[in-house]
Amino acid sequence: MEDANFIVKFLDWLMTFDRKALILAASAIGAGMAMIAGIGPGIGQGYAAGKGAEAVSINPKASKQATLVMLLGAAVAETSGILALVVSLILLFGNPIVTQEGAVIILVASALGAGISMIAGIGPGIGQGYAAGKGTEATGRRPEYQSNIIRAMFLGQAVAQTTGIYALIISLVLMFANPLVKLL
């Protein structure tokens, strides 16, 4: 029965590789996974810019205020992308997992998990971009309330960023202070 089990066969095959090679391979996949988060701010900023263009076309007199709100909102929306970059590049060029002691399968899974965790960055990226877009739209309609709109927008964006920071914390814990290795 065990011979027919694909998962057991796959794990046996994995264990034929060198320990370091396995961790590096997992890190490569993890680094690639982390970069998926880069999509989020791209979509978010694009949405904000689209809304900005709409707002200016509806109310050209408010173009200055609308662009200002969009600039500030879009700048904050980039944050998750940079966080993902940091994790991805640490996995590629400053990998702390290779030198760690412990069961190889846990270290491999941790390297993968550190990367996969950062996919959460898509959420804040899109959400903050959406907030920036709506803030810009609102400013286009009611430019006299610009400062209130900016505050509401940043409050929303700061809250939206928290999930991205949680993802970063889990990713850094898996890389630098892995609690799972000690449990075995």
């Binding site: 880069g38 904000a48 969009m70 700048a75 980039e78 992308g81 970059l85």
Partner: protein, 135 residues
């Protein structure tokens, strides 16, 4: 032409440079070998300022386009800035004379300044307790 968000850009860059100097001074006093951290901090901060300027130019142009084109144009420019950030972090990880933590802090300083200058004033302002009708 400086663009109509020039004033806010100058204000944010000014605050960012002040925060950078404060962090650099703190690092100078607390680290035994502060130079890699400070160099990386300056490098990261300057690149983030240039990225912010690029974002401003991009958005000022995007608002003159139709919404569909503006989305594509802004997203493509975002990926260029994303690549520039990747190069900065890569260089700081590879180079021994630059501390990656300093660079990451430098890249984020401008975000903290943007949120800080706009959001945290709300905490010190009594205006939020006022009703709209009273204004």
């Amino acid at each position: 032409m400086l663009g109509y968000t020039w004033d806010i850009q100058v204000k944010i860059v000014k605050y960012t440079l002040i925060i950078m100097i404060l962090i650099a001074a703190a690092a100078f006093m607390s680290f035994q070998e502060p130079r890699p951290f400070i160099y990386a901090l300056i490098f990261g901060t300057l690149i983030s300022i240039l990225n912010f300027r690029n974002l401003a130019l991009t958005l000022e142009k995007a608002v003159t386009m139709n919404p569909g084109h503006a989305q594509v144009y802004t997203s493509s420019k975002y990926f260029i800035r994303f690549f520039i950030n990747a190069v900065v972090i890569f260089v700081c990880i590879k180079a021994n004379y630059l501390n990656v933590l300093g660079a990451v802090l430098g890249l984020f300083t401008i975000k903290f300044v943007i949120i800080g200058t706009n959001l945290f004033t709300i905490l010190f302002s009594k205006r939020i307790f006022k009703r709209k009708e009273e204004e």
